[in-house]
Symmetry: C2
Subunit: 208 residues, 2 copies
DNA sequence: CTCCTTGTGCACTGGCTAGTGCATTTTATC
DNA sequence: GATAAAATGCACTAGCCAGTGCACAAGGAG
């Protein structure tokens, strides 16, 4: 009774297609029939697994949030006090920038923004599963850098908040909410600006 | 033929109601009948003025963008090199924070995020009418401060971008995308954090 | 007084879609 | 091969809503 007869395969296929279709058409626009067709599955199968359209949507969003969390945490992991702070921060910032600009991330944010008014739980799902954890992890790492004497930080949470802000807000504007693909050069520029300002504010060495 | 027989009054009433209803229900959810009922107007009148639902929506968004622009510019105006930079930046930052957290601003952003995928012009409307102009104005003012020797800025545009980032990104997170009302204390805190970091990075005096 | 613009009220079409019911088929497990 | 869970195909209901058509009312302009 451990295997459930291809149930998981179908379930995953449905979740994948659901996100694809929802991301492309928007939650309201997307029809369950389209999701079913895309997943190569009967509509009934979807209702068997998820009950109704809204639950399907929540499940798809949750799955994407988990995915985004994993990628963001991997980026933060690289933040270790074993090299020049500028170098490490640039590397991590650049990775975070890539995560932020990923097409799936943008789709997730769009769906979240569009629907959290009618489904408030959505925001909690994403926050609990991804945003908060990434911020915490970043704050932890920055605290270590501070302890190693590489940064002058009083509140690691605020520092993490601001490092994120310096990265994401410019990316949001410059990529036109994800509709314009940013080249490597522009990603480097934004990352560079963010790290430079961050270090001018929090670096332990005086910057000219 | 100058007066258009109460046309303008109706038009304005429709635009106001349209934004209210769209903001509350979302573009797709909102029905034109509801807008008409809220405005105290026949459905036909709406179609006479705006042609179809989408045009009505665009017009409502544009009107709100104009509104937001005016309020944001007023805030930036206060940025003059006649007092302590910390003091002036705090005042302006605080005003910008209030603009950003205004209920109408949040509604506008939500609608924009929700619909720009299917109506790409929306983003241009808002950018041309509001975002760009505010950023430019802010950059201009920061440049003046730099010229007055109160800031060490190389690129005013980047400085404006980052000042905005340090304000808006934390506000976005902390207010849960506008669903949680921030108290004065928290607005002060975010503004204070932003100004402190900004001045540590760009202030002309050394900060301890 | 008359005309013409503007607005009203109501009924209606046409299109779309969530969710269901049912008979049938696949498929994993024993 | 028997069995039961899982999946399929198709038809169908019921609801929602943008946009239209038509007859009619109001009210300022000439």
């Amino acid at each position: 009774m451990t295997t459930t007869r291809g149930r998981i395969d179908k379930r995953q296929a449905i979740l994948d297609s659901a996100f694809t279709v929802f991301a492309r058409d928007g939650y309201r626009q997307a029809s369950v029939d389209t999701v079913a067709a895309t997943a190569g599955v009967a509509k009934h199968t979807i209702y068997n697994h998820f009950g109704d359209k809204e639950s399907l949507f929540r499940a798809a969003v949750a799955a994407l949030a988990d995915d985004a969390l994993a990628r963001n945490l991997a980026a933060v992991e690289a933040l270790r006090p074993d090299r020049e702070p500028a170098e490490v921060l640039t590397e991590v910032g650049r990775k975070l920038a890539e995560c932020y600009c990923d097409e799936k991330s943008w789709a997730l944010r769009r769906l979240l923004y569009a629907e959290f008014a009618s489904m408030p739980e959505l925001q909690d799902i994403v926050r609990d599963r991804a945003t908060d954890k990434v911020n915490d992890a970043l704050a932890d790492r920055l605290a270590r850098l501070a302890l190693a004497g590489q940064l002058r930080i009083t509140d690691p949470a605020v520092a993490a908040e601001q490092f994120g802000a310096l990265l994401t807000a410019p990316l949001e504007t410059r990529s036109r909410l994800g509709t314009r693909k940013l080249g490597a050069a522009e990603l480097d520029e934004v990352t560079g600006n963010a790290v430079r300002t961050f270090l001018r504010a929090f670096g332990s060495e005086q910057v000219v």
